[in-house]
């Protein structure tokens, strides 16, 4: 295992956009621990990844792209969605788009976004349809959801952790979120 992880690397290169995200067909089922370059990190619920290869019976090597801000990897410059963190060091220079490879337990992967967000979705409709009809997450961009939640989290009387929980669901499923092809 150690020898395999030792060969892992973070490849750094500039890409014009993160549209490659849409091409991934497997997603993180729930926030989980990962190993990046043999060091500990976390990958967050919903993040799309590409499986590169099997590491052992339990683990696989995956790859994902994001924009680096210190030890955090986001979907873009507005830092709307956190994709991954690492305990030591930074992912790349500030604002640089990088591809990251990591080892993760394969049980944390799912091919069905709806399955991943089942509980979040229920919470969303529970909290956000008490006064008005619901807008589907895909009806807004990530940034729009951020802005709308600034106002509406107060009206829905959400606690901070609940806002965070809801916000992640809405942004991951936003029109420019992890699954833009979703209708």
């Amino acid at each position: 295992m150690k020898s395999v992880l030792g060969k892992l690397f973070i490849s750094l290169f500039m890409v014009g956009s993160l549209s490659a995200l849409a091409a991934s067909d497997i997603f993180i089922f729930q926030t989980a621990k990962i190993k990046i370059d043999n060091k500990e990190g976390s990958i967050f619920i919903g993040t799309p990844v590409k499986v590169l290869k099997k590491v052992d019976d339990k683990n696989v090597l995956v790859e994902f792209s994001g924009m680096a801000f210190g030890d955090k990897l986001y979907t873009g410059k507005t830092k709307s969605l956190l994709m991954a963190t690492k305990k030591e060091g930074s992912f790349a220079d500030e604002g640089q788009v990088v591809k990251v490879q990591a080892v993760i337990e394969k049980g944390y992967l799912s091919e069905v976004p709806a399955e991943i967000w089942e509980e979040h979705e229920e919470f969303f409709y529970e909290m956000c349809t008490q006064c008005h009809g619901a807008y589907k997450p895909q009806s807004h961009t990530m940034l729009e959801w951020d802005a709308i939640l600034q106002t509406m989290s107060g009206f829905a009387q959400l606690y901070e952790d609940e806002t965070e929980y809801l916000s992640r669901f809405l942004k991951a499923n936003a029109s420019n979120g992890f699954y833009p092809e979703q209708k």
């Binding site: 409709y125 009809g133 606690y159």
Partner: protein, 803 residues
């Protein structure tokens, strides 16, 4: 369900009586109270929390809960009258031709009804839904139950309707709203927040720091009377402190409003619809004189460089000078410059309103105020900047930060979740297959067959009433659930009698921002006639679709209320049981002192990087690349002045319709609510909605105080009672929205309304391609002698066979 509800009621009433005894011991002899046959039951409304005094099953008085509502309005007094009003829908009814299977939608509003059993009415409604589904799928269903204003409780009819439709596959709904249809969808991209519903700088900070308060159309003294939740009217105490603090108040408004009068404000009698022009001129002046805050613009905003050429006339050849604006606004250039000087040299809070954006090109209003406030440079400073909600829900109240109670969920929608922009209701019905733009997207209107309205009155809130009536007559079926014979109910095929909040149990929160109380809305009297709770009506309807269990989850009304209460701070942190709360009638939350220090946008000002706005650049978007990319004709990348179609600057139209009509929020109602009560006697003129006319215009049109006149344009005509007053500027008349429509001759189309429903005159023209919102305040009219008038029968039930 019924049994438990009644038990619940009995317990509630007993609890209330006990409270009355213990609460009254200090001031009144206990023996007298015990001997009294009058029971005092706590409840709450959009107009405040109150006690109903019930004797022998009848409400004999309504008094305010003074510990909650220190400054009650007279409106609560009308609640008892409304409950026992003859305008109640007493039985399920069906329009005659519809019941006979002839359809004849063209006779809606013209024909009598027939009393039927609940089962017949429910079966007919269910059949109509299934018929529409078969014909056009769920996109043929239109859930017109819009907004949650009918009651402040958890059992909001619009929510219950949404829950029902969602569980049978969805229906066409509403995107955005009438109130903030233009600013609501636009502001988030400009300033990273809707702003129109955001918590405002605390009153304490205004009182301590503000030197100049600009009420740009805002009329807090009037609009704070009613609330979306249960108002405590404490803001009026704060306003007294505003006065004592010596804050200079400037009112920019065609009407010298109650707020203007209370604050003894300096009145800038602006021409309606020209506000953006004045804002542009103020910005031009600040730029040219170098008085604007360059540092703020550089540090906190994006795109000033793209806006500036427009301001200076380099892109369109029109420099936005004060002289230029003088012609448009009818405010002298010197006054415009003085206003800019006053605002930039004093700590100034600009209190925007919502009426200005309910006008053609309404998207520009808040954007222009935000840009002006950016140039003034006080955003994020205590008592400075702008606020778009200072007139709403006690805006400025400090927040308790504690959870009150929510409501019932509509759940996830079905396959159909199409939503049309609010105010496009008539277009939806009239223009199947045609397209409407909304925030960079294109929506295609489906073919709607079935329409349901619960707890609302489209014939009240949709502009151009005649257009809507014509549209509604094209539908296969119209179903209405209402406690009262509203004008919309009279246009239905099937009408279900719903209980009022006085006839069922519910729960409500106090104040959307301060969240300072939870109220029990207890059943006060038994349901009248054959009325049923909205929850029960939808459950019975759901049963006909096999979704009953899903709809109720086997919960009684009490189960829902207890469940909602269980999530509150009162239950979780204060450990007050539901029974204790219910017996007491309310729970009060303390407001932490820290909350009184809140200054809107102060975190952004302190650190614009760490606390970046949720916008494209993290800054205030004076220019938005996103907006520019929409390529709309009358909504560009930066705020702009667009000349409206209907306004006093249109010399051609003025020849025919020389008066600008504004339709402000009502003083004695929420929209159409309470129009069927005696409270209206406080202001109606000969039973008609008042029209405010300046003395000069009264002379010009030869009309007298107290006279009934006809107000008209190409869209319709109404009767209104003249009030000649110097509190409105020349060339402008005002009729408050919300009077119930009463057709003078219901057998004819486009007949005169003899009640004064202002939306017969307003236009359904959209603001722009951006928000496609309502433009009710862009209306020109004329006045003429009314001739022979007939009585206003807006509040009478229609003819009903068998009842």
């Amino acid at each position: 369900m019924d049994t438990s509800r009644r038990d619940f009621l009995r317990k509630g009433v007993a609890g209330s009586a006990a409270l009355t005894v213990s609460g009254a011991l200090s001031s009144v002899g206990a023996a007298n109270i015990l001997e009294s046959r009058t029971v005092k039951i706590p409840s709450a409304s959009h107009f405040g929390a109150f006690y109903a005094h019930v004797r022998d099953g009848k409400i004999v008085d309504i008094t305010s809960q003074l510990d909650s509502d220190a400054n009650p309005t007279v409106i609560v007094k009308g609640l008892a009258d409304r409950n026992s009003s003859n305008s109640r829908v007493k039985y399920p009814v069906v329009r005659k031709s519809y019941l006979e299977g002839k359809g004849r939608g063209d006779l809606r509003g013209k024909e009598e009804f027939v009393r039927v059993s609940w089962d017949t009415a429910l079966d007919l409604a269910a059949d109509a839904i299934k018929r529409a589904q078969k014909k056009g799928g769920n996109e043929a269903l239109y859930n017109a139950s819009y907004g949650g204003w009918s009651i402040p409780g958890a059992f909001k009819p619009n929510v219950l309707a949404g829950r029902f439709f969602n569980q049978i596959g969805g229906a066409v709904g509403t995107a955005g709203e009438y109130s903030n249809g233009a600013a609501g969808p636009t502001n988030p991209a400009i300033v990273g927040d809707m702003e129109v519903y955001s918590i405002q700088t605390a009153h304490e900070q205004i009182i301590a720091n503000t030197k100049v308060l600009v009420l740009w159309g805002a009329d807090p003294y009037k609009t704070q009377r009613a609330g979306y939740s249960v108002p405590n009217h404490r803001c009026y105490d704060a306003y007294e402190e505003y006065k004592k603090a010596g804050i200079k108040v400037i009112l920019i408004d065609p009407i010298y409003t109650i707020s203007g009068q209370e604050f003894n404000a300096e009145w800038i009698k602006i021409r309606p619809g020209s506000d953006v022009a004045m804002m542009m001129a103020m910005m031009h002046y600040l730029y040219k004189t170098g008085k604007y805050d360059k540092e703020f613009i550089e540090k906190y905003t994006h795109g000033f460089d793209k806006f500036l050429p427009y301001l200076l006339g380099k892109t369109d050849g029109i420099e936005k000078t004060a002289k230029w604006a003088e012609k448009l606004t009818e405010i002298p250039a010197k006054t415009i410059e003085y206003l800019a000087d006053t605002m930039v040299s004093n700590r100034t809070m600009i209190a925007g309103n919502w009426a200005m954006q309910r006008a053609e090109y309404g998207e520009q209003v808040d954007w222009s105020i935000i840009t002006l406030a950016s140039m003034i440079g006080q955003i994020g400073l205590a008592g400075g900047g702008f606020g778009f909600s200072m007139h709403y829900e006690g805006g400025g109240d400090a927040a308790s930060g504690k959870r009150t109670v929510g409501g019932i969920s509509q759940g996830k929608g079905g396959e159909v979740s199409l939503a049309i922009p609010a105010s496009r209701m008539s277009d939806l019905i009239n223009k199947p297959g045609q397209k409407v733009t909304y925030k960079g997207k294109v929506i295609t209107y489906p073919k709607v067959e079935f329409m349901l309205s619960a707890g609302g009155s489209p014939i009240g809130h949709q502009p151009n009433t005649n257009e809507l009536i014509e549209a509604m007559r094209k539908l296969d079926t119209v179903v209405v659930m209402e406690p009262w014979w509203t004008p919309t109910a009279k246009m239905a095929d099937i009408v279900f009698p719903a209980t009022t909040t006085m006839e069922r149990d519910d729960i409500a929160s106090g104040m959307s921002y301060s969240n300072d109380r939870i109220y029990a809305m207890k059943q006060i009297v038994p349901p009248r006639y054959e009325s049923k709770d909205d929850y029960e009506i939808f459950t019975l309807l759901a049963k006909r679709f096999g979704t009953e269990k899903k709809y109720t989850r086997d919960r009684t009304a009490k189960d829902w209320l207890e469940g909602l209460y269980s999530k509150s701070y009162a239950r979780r942190e204060m450990n007050i049981t539901f029974e204790e709360f219910w017996d007491k009638g309310s729970v009060h939350y303390e407001i932490p002192d820290e909350a009184r220090k809140y200054v809107r946008h102060s975190a952004f000002r302190a650190d614009p990087v760490a606390n970046a706005l949720k916008t494209e650049t993290g800054k205030i978007q004076i220019y938005s690349e996103q907006f520019a990319s929409y390529n709309y004709k009358e909504f560009k990348g930066h705020p702009m002045w667009f000349e409206p179609t209907e306004w006093l600057g249109n010399s051609k139209l003025l020849k025919k319709y020389p008066l600008h009509l504004v339709s402000p929020h009502p003083t004695y109602r929420i929209h159409t609510q309470m129009d069927n009560t005696w409270v209206q006697n406080a202001h109606k003129v000969q039973g008609r909605e008042p029209i405010r006319v300046s003395p000069n215009d009264a002379k010009k049109f030869g009309v007298r105080d107290g006279e009934i006149v006809e107000v008209y344009n190409d869209r319709g005509s109404i009767l209104a009672g003249v009030v000649v007053t110097k509190t409105i500027r020349d060339g402008v008349v005002a009729i408050e929205e919300g009077a119930w429509y009463s057709p003078e001759d219901s057998t004819k189309d486009n007949t005169r309304c003899n009640s004064g429903q202002v939306n017969l005159l307003t236009s359904s023209r959209p603001t722009s391609q951006m928000a496609s919102a309502t433009t009710a305040n862009s209306t020109l009219v004329s006045i003429r002698k009314a001739g022979v008038v007939s009585p206003n029968v807006a509040y009478n039930p229609p003819k009903i066979q068998g009842a």
